[in-house]
Symmetry: C2
Subunit: 428 residues, 2 copies
């Protein structure tokens, strides 16, 4: 990997990551604003802006945008997270200029036509309905709200009926003027791209992007808590969370190794204990969510009504035990999984683009794969075991649950399973 970085005069960062031999490219623009930058009445506006980017510019209708990119077989898409809004394209080599022109136009010159805003509000309300119909999707909104109550970091990215229905042209324009500032925008291109061409194209496409930097969001405060919704579903969908690491934490890869050993693959502790040994579930896994100043570790499981009585003790038991008995073999497997996943990701343009954008946001620089490999190699068993102890000792767990959850133990009981030693640790 040999990325080159340039900056436009308005402050916009450009990173090219050429991959010899490829005939296609992935190009994306990351804007450093998302759900956590919103006020209560703005809840969902970052996501609405993501949608409105496709709804027409000063010179292109919504239909023209989709027809131009698809006429060359390209794909244009976008997503909104808690901290960023990303717009990205997959195209063949010859269509890099078109992709840049389109990305620039939709971000610099959005039309925000009233009738398009009205229609798109309806589309987003449908998207909210779809998310609510997918328990293993909406559970993570409930979890986020339980972890970060009464703060933007805990709000749903899609917003709520009430706020989405209130979005006006003026409000969209005002939010964009404050939060879409070139100092917080990064353009990344991986694959069949050349840096000089990319910079020249970006200079033309993004010259009028507003300079400056948006104000930083308020710090997020991990609080922990409990959110339960009894619903008539086949499964109890349960997510447990614990305080984790920010994306720039020096122990970031310690956390990743821990999470892989806990619930990252078929040989992980949770998969082996909950699915392979006890047959309690089909899906169980652990993952991390990292932000600029904060983060959490989560375990998701989908299980039956009866099995929900046992699962909390199984999860707590495995987590409580790890500080004591994590083995060298488990650490070696976790390390091999992270390394192989990194190396295989390097073979895909979209994977490299995402990785570079994430690193720039978290660290302010692109991290060579060799540096990550060296970091992974330098972490010993003691470091991961100490981290395993830190995860469970804070007493700040969170639980979100949907479905037939009457038999899932309450939060207080779950919390007492950690650290104190005065409660039974095994399954009951």
């Amino acid at each position: 990997m040999n990325p080159e970085i340039s900056r436009l005069s308005n402050g916009l960062t450009i990173i090219s990551d050429p991959m010899p031999g490829l005939e296609s490219a992935a190009i994306g623009v990351w804007v450093n604003t998302g759900a956590r930058n919103e006020t209560p009445s703005q809840m969902g506006v970052s996501h609405m802006l993501e949608h409105m980017a496709f709804k027409g510019t000063a010179t292109r209708s919504a239909r023209a945008i989709s027809e131009e990119i698809e006429a060359v077989g390209g794909v244009l898409n976008a997503y909104t997270s808690r901290e960023q809004t990303a717009f990205h394209a997959r195209i063949l080599k010859a269509d890099v200029p078109l992709a840049l022109a389109l990305l620039g136009d939709i971000l610099v010159n959005p039309a925000f036509a009233e009738e398009e805003i009205a229609r798109e509000r309806q589309v987003v309300l449908q998207e909210i309905g779809q998310a609510r119909d997918t328990p293993d999707d909406i559970i993570f909104d409930h979890l986020q709200a339980a972890i970060y109550p009464d703060q933007p970091m805990g709000w749903p990215i899609l917003g709520e009926e009430k706020t989405v229905s209130s979005f006006s042209r003026e409000m969209l324009r005002a939010y964009m003027a404050s939060n879409y500032r070139a100092g917080g925008v990064t353009l990344v291109a991986s694959g069949a791209v050349m840096h000089d061409q990319l910079v020249a194209l970006a200079e033309r496409a993004f010259a009028d992007f507003a300079p400056g930097t948006a104000s930083a969001p308020l710090p997020a405060l991990y609080s922990g808590g409990d959110a339960r919704f009894v619903e008539d579903l086949e499964q109890a969908h349960i997510a447990f969370a614990f305080p984790g690491l920010s994306n720039s934490d020096p122990d970031y890869y310690v956390g990743q190794l821990y999470t892989a050993a806990l619930g990252g693959g078929m040989s992980s502790r949770l998969f082996q204990e909950a699915r392979e040994k006890r047959g309690l579930c089909y899906s169980i896994y652990a993952f991390t969510s990292g932000f600029q100043d904060n983060g959490f570790l989560s375990v998701y499981v989908g299980t039956g009504e009866a099995e929900a009585a046992e699962i909390a003790a199984v999860v707590a038991g495995e987590m409580e035990a790890m500080a004591g008995n994590l083995s060298e073999a488990e650490l070696a497997r976790a390390r091999a999984q992270l390394k192989a996943s990194l190396l295989m990701g390097l073979e895909r343009p979209a994977g490299r683009m995402e990785q570079i954008a994430g690193q720039l946001f978290a660290l302010g620089r692109v991290q060579p794969p060799s540096e990550i490999i060296a970091q992974l190699d330098a972490i010993d068993l003691g470091a991961v075991k100490r981290y395993a102890g830190r995860v469970v000792e804070t007493g700040k767990s969170a639980i979100a649950a949907i479905g037939p959850i009457a038999r899932l133990e309450n939060h207080e009981r779950f919390a007492r399973r950690f650290g104190g030693g005065d409660m039974p640790q095994a399954a009951e």
Copy 2:
């Protein structure tokens, strides 16, 4: 692409597809048996066998299988479809021999220990629960049942509580003995692989795979019909279907171009009319399901309770109109999308492996990308318009719907929107 093909003496086919410069490989084994090969009491047994492959062999425990592959950072996974069961691995170059050894062992020497079968039945029951909690997943099981009533092609791949609970060791062994025959098995490897090495490794790993060929499944009969389930959901999840093409049909790519123009991207007719113009939905798309002797075309939409009253007329209106007014520009976009998707897929080992396996199953040979491009270029507007007419003239539509669907028009009324001309075609 320069694939090489060999056959083992037991009839098993081996295809290698080297990709210069890659450091990883995708390797998969496709067994030509799936849900449509099952009798009523066997419903779900193909999928259960897929699970049991990971539950231990004569010399490896379930835990050992997962630990061996993950110790090198590899990923081993599997899936079951109506016609095939696939087992595949993603590994780094050096671990190709390990992947072959594991794939061979789990397919040739499964242990089927009684206690593992008992536990795995519980896991599959959880998987069934998870599918039922995901309306935009389970809707396609309902659609399949409506299209192919009272025949294996219409049965759920996962099986049902009653059949899954009945699976015994003897039954698994008997089904495997009949259906896992080397003449219907293909090993495909793309990426950092060499043909001679692959054949040598496969000879060792699959030497004891039973020779011969399984009996062919009964022909599938597209019937059409209606399946509706009123449920307390946010959205009405609706899938419409029409007779389509088998995977070996000479008009296969005519069907693909038609489907892309109808509902394949943001510029497609359905997306433009239902989402962009009317704001009725967030998700709407068309896709094809092709089998060896049969196929169908489907449109999925997730929409609101009130909007469900309008959506059927919108879908029917667009489909009815296409035979008359599909444009050269729409065809050109569909062609560009299919070509670019093909070319980008060639850059990913897993994508190439899937494509080669699919071609071998459908056509009995690997189709060079240049041949597909030439086929796409040779299809003119007249051919796609004629096909558009054929889709709607059969009168054999099917509908599956879940959620608040009281206002969705009945099947008879939907069917009358096509061909006759005596019913209003526009939205009401």
